[in-house]
């Protein structure tokens, strides 16, 4: 901060998006503080799976941004802040029946359009992945994707010593006047030239006009086991159908089985229209595990040792919100990443930092970032009025 006690930038929210933004600001030589109501990775980033996946993204801006973020995440993992957080691994998509097979065909076409970041390594029947369930007709193997636990990414970014930290410190108000923003944290007030608000599901509390809604997801973790280790994530093609069409809420969720670096499995996840992380239930666990065992029968020998829910920040139109906050000149929003924030965080943090430093986004991504601007809601409201 400068002699008058003003930071170049204050980032609110120490989830994976806020932590990435703060790291990138510090790399650019800006003075930066990171504030969180609770602490690092206290919300979605500490209670999620960590698939860094292009395959699951809706075609269009999200798929292109995810591709750029995957490539950049790999760079940051080469001795950079994500070196101990990001783990490359193959991904497998399985399907049964014609609708799921068609979804796999669409996926292959989408990946080809996106370049070479994620490649199709093999496309065949169940024999392609030894150990997969016998009821499965088709399996494709992809290479290029990886896994990154959200809290590990946050920890990686926070190794940067030039980030000042304030937590637990809930921001109760943002006051913009002239060339400065005052960030009110209860008894204390920080001053900054610019602010990045990466608040996740709490966004409407400071920005009530934005249609950010909670969408909870239950996740289950097994113990370790010697046998039956999956070489990479195993995702139902039904999940692609669900994620790439309307932002539907699924009562019977398609399953994703993610092998963790510890030798355990993470199995997820539901999409439920509420924000209560204590709602985790045995019937859902059983449903998900039934489907998981159909896909990967070796899971039958495991035990479930942990159950929890995370809450995603969903946006009414299914696209994240990145851009100048309505009603402010100096506040940038980066929120609404629903089930994709870990994957997108590297590129979002980099570009949010660029915009905060007064630069325009990377030219190749400018159009895609334009699609994420919060201005789209202002237009809808004016049109409706």
């Amino acid at each position: 901060m400068n002699a008058e006690g003003i930071y170049d930038a204050v980032v609110i929210g120490a989830g994976v998006v806020g932590a990435s933004s703060a790291w990138h600001l510090a790399q650019a030589g800006l003075s930066v503080a990171l504030v969180d109501a609770e602490g690092p990775a206290a919300a979605a980033s500490g209670a999620s799976d960590g698939a860094v996946s292009v395959a699951s993204k809706k075609p269009g801006p999200l798929a292109r941004l995810a591709t750029a973020s995957l490539l950049y995440t790999r760079d940051l993992a080469q001795g950079g802040p994500l070196s101990s957080a990001y783990h490359p691994r193959p991904s497998y998509i399985f399907g049964t029946g014609s609708a799921e097979s068609a979804a796999i065909d669409a996926l292959i076409a989408k990946l080809a359009q996106l370049g070479t970041a994620v490649r199709l390594r093999a496309d065949g029947d169940a024999t392609l992945l030894p150990g997969v369930g016998t009821g499965i007709d088709r399996v494709v193997a992809l290479e290029g994707e990886g896994h990154m636990p959200g809290y590990a990414a946050v920890q990686g970014y926070l190794r940067e010593p030039r980030i000042d930290r304030f937590w637990p410190a809930p921001v109760t108000a943002l006051e913009e006047s002239g060339s400065e923003v005052r960030i009110v944290l209860g008894t204390q007030t920080l001053r900054a030239k610019r602010v990045i608000a990466a608040l996740g599901t709490a966004t409407p509390r400071l920005f009530p006009t934005l249609p950010v809604l909670p969408r909870a997801g239950q996740l289950f973790v097994t113990d370790r086991g010697l046998a039956g280790q999956l070489p990479g994530a195993l995702t139902s093609a039904a999940y692609l159908l669900a994620k790439t069409t309307a932002p539907s809420v699924l009562p019977k969720p398609p399953v994703v089985i993610d092998p963790l670096a510890t030798g355990q499995y993470l199995i997820g996840s539901t999409r439920e229209d509420h924000g209560d992380p204590t709602r985790v239930d045995f019937e859902t666990l059983r449903e998900l595990m039934l489907r998981a065992v159909e896909a990967w029968p070796a899971l039958r020998a495991r035990r479930v040792i942990r159950a929890f829910a995370g809450v995603r920040a969903a946006v009414s139109d299914g696209l994240p919100i990145v851009g100048s906050a309505p009603g402010y000149e100096r506040v940038l929003l980066a929120t609404g990443f629903e089930g994709d924030g870990i994957c997108l965080s590297a590129v979002i943090g980099r570009e949010a930092a660029r915009m905060t430093a007064g630069l325009s986004p990377d030219a190749a991504l400018a159009a895609d970032f334009a699609a994420l601007s919060p201005a789209r809601f202002a237009q809808v409201q004016e049109g409706a009025a």
């Binding site: 920890q155 113990d223 239930d281 159950a307």
Partner: protein, 434 residues
């Protein structure tokens, strides 16, 4: 529709007492226990064909006779994996299903605390409680040279029971100085004194060395034997044994047992407050009646209280003073590679790497403390003490975060076999004690 059962978890004194009161009030009751027979910690019954070691058998026989005359349904070798926010409980094992009970009573008893120290995870090192279970179910003392170490009245009790079964321990190593408080001791209830005097007479007659004010600092394996380092603050010495039983007190066992917005949950006996057998029986009866009353009036049951419970509380407080020691301060000077969390193999070094005052979430996500199958049941207290400036001070009830299910790991195969509750009658009629 079938009148849903009240689920009682744990068939020890508190659970069986609560079951009799509720059954007498006309409620259908299901009592489950992971063990093969009722009895809990104090009245653990011998395995079929074994002699066993009876403690206060008359009290138990009266209670069980009373319970068996009532329409209570028993499910042994059945594990309670927890209750979810909707009020669905999961049972696995012999009775394998989900059920939505009318109310839930948790009487899961106490668990043992064992302070980490170098070598505590070696083969041949166990807990005094585990050794006592073996003794009660098999009717035989652990074999070979056995050292009992740590702190608390259980060491003396187990030592005496082993002596009576013809294998006295080579030493009892007690961190406190229980014999240095004769005046406080005299104010203990007569029953306590009589029991302790019996144990002491047995130990003295067999000349079992009782080293008070002495800590077992470390254990190392040498060939087939275990060498323990003992210290009394000034001098240290070594003692050789085949087996070391550690015990650093008992705690309420409520890890993974959540409250539930959808139904009444009452904790009774040692699971609520570790006060021992007399209190558990009393709390079980009073709690069962309180639950019956609450169900009749549509209110929330309140935890039982009575003069007897107050007396037991006072007695436990005196015992704590008699056994006071500063052993937990040793956590600050342990070698940095000492394992704190057995499940995940996390050491003191891993804990210190989290910085001076790690938050619960950092302890879990980054430190991986409490992330194994035991959910922090064993390491939570020691993590809290090790990061505290005052390791002797009381620690929060849930140092690694709010409890959440599963209360015990759920085998995926059992989960699949667990049919959801359809509101139909249970698989076996009431009154069957299998």
């Amino acid at each position: 529709m079938f009148n849903p059962e009240i689920l009682i978890v744990g068939a020890g004194l508190a659970g069986v007492a609560a079951a009799t009161e509720l059954a007498r009030a006309g409620h259908p009751v299901l009592i489950v226990d992971r063990a093969a027979r009722a009895g809990g910690a104090i009245h653990r019954q011998p395995l079929p064909g074994q002699a066993g070691v009876a403690t206060a058998a008359a009290r138990w026989n009266r209670l069980i006779a009373e319970a068996e005359a009532l329409p209570i349904r028993w499910a042994f070798e059945t594990r309670f994996n927890g209750v979810d926010h909707q009020g669905t409980a999961l049972l696995t094992g012999a009775e394998n299903r989900m059920l939505r009970p009318k109310a839930l009573i948790l009487t899961t008893g106490a668990r043992e605390a064992v302070r980490p120290r170098p070598g505590w995870t070696l083969p041949g090192v166990t807990t005094a409680g585990a050794a006592q279970i073996q003794l009660k179910t098999m009717g035989a003392a652990p074999q070979g040279r056995v050292v009992l170490a740590g702190s608390g009245p259980l060491l003396i009790a187990l030592g005496a029971q082993m002596t009576r079964l013809k294998n006295p321990p080579v030493a009892i190593v007690e961190a406190g100085r229980p014999f240095a408080h004769p005046l406080t001791s005299l104010r203990l209830p007569l029953g306590y004194l009589r029991e302790a005097a019996g144990y002491m007479a047995t130990l003295l007659a067999a000349r079992v060395p009782i080293l008070t004010g002495t800590r077992l600092a470390a254990i190392r394996a040498e060939g087939e034997t275990l060498v323990s380092t003992l210290t009394d603050g000034n001098t240290s010495r070594e003692i050789v044994a085949d087996m070391v039983c550690l015990h650093d007190g008992i705690r309420r066992n409520d890890i993974g047992l959540t409250d539930c917005p959808a139904l009444s949950v009452l904790r009774l006996g040692d699971c609520a407050e570790a006060l021992g057998a007399r209190a558990a029986l009393e709390a079980g009866r009073a709690g069962g009646r309180a639950m019956a009353q609450a169900l009749a009036t549509g209110t929330t049951p309140t935890a039982p209280n009575s003069p007897l419970l107050d007396r037991e509380r006072a007695a436990q407080a005196r015992l704590a003073r008699i056994y006071a020691h500063d052993d937990f301060a040793a956590l600050h000077s342990l070698p940095s590679d000492t394992v704190i969390c057995r499940c995940e193999g996390r050491t003191l070094d891993d804990l210190r790497a989290l910085g001076p005052a790690p938050r619960t979430r950092e302890l879990r996500l980054l430190g991986r403390f409490g992330m194994g199958p035991c959910q922090g049941r064993f390491c939570g207290e020691w993590v809290a003490r090790a990061i505290s400036d005052t390791p002797q001070a009381p620690v929060p009830a849930h140092p690694l975060g709010e409890p959440r299910w599963p209360a015990a790991p759920i085998a995926v195969a059992d989960l699949h076999a667990a049919a959801p509750d359809t509101g139909a009658a249970p698989p076996h009629p009431h009154g069957v004690h299998e």
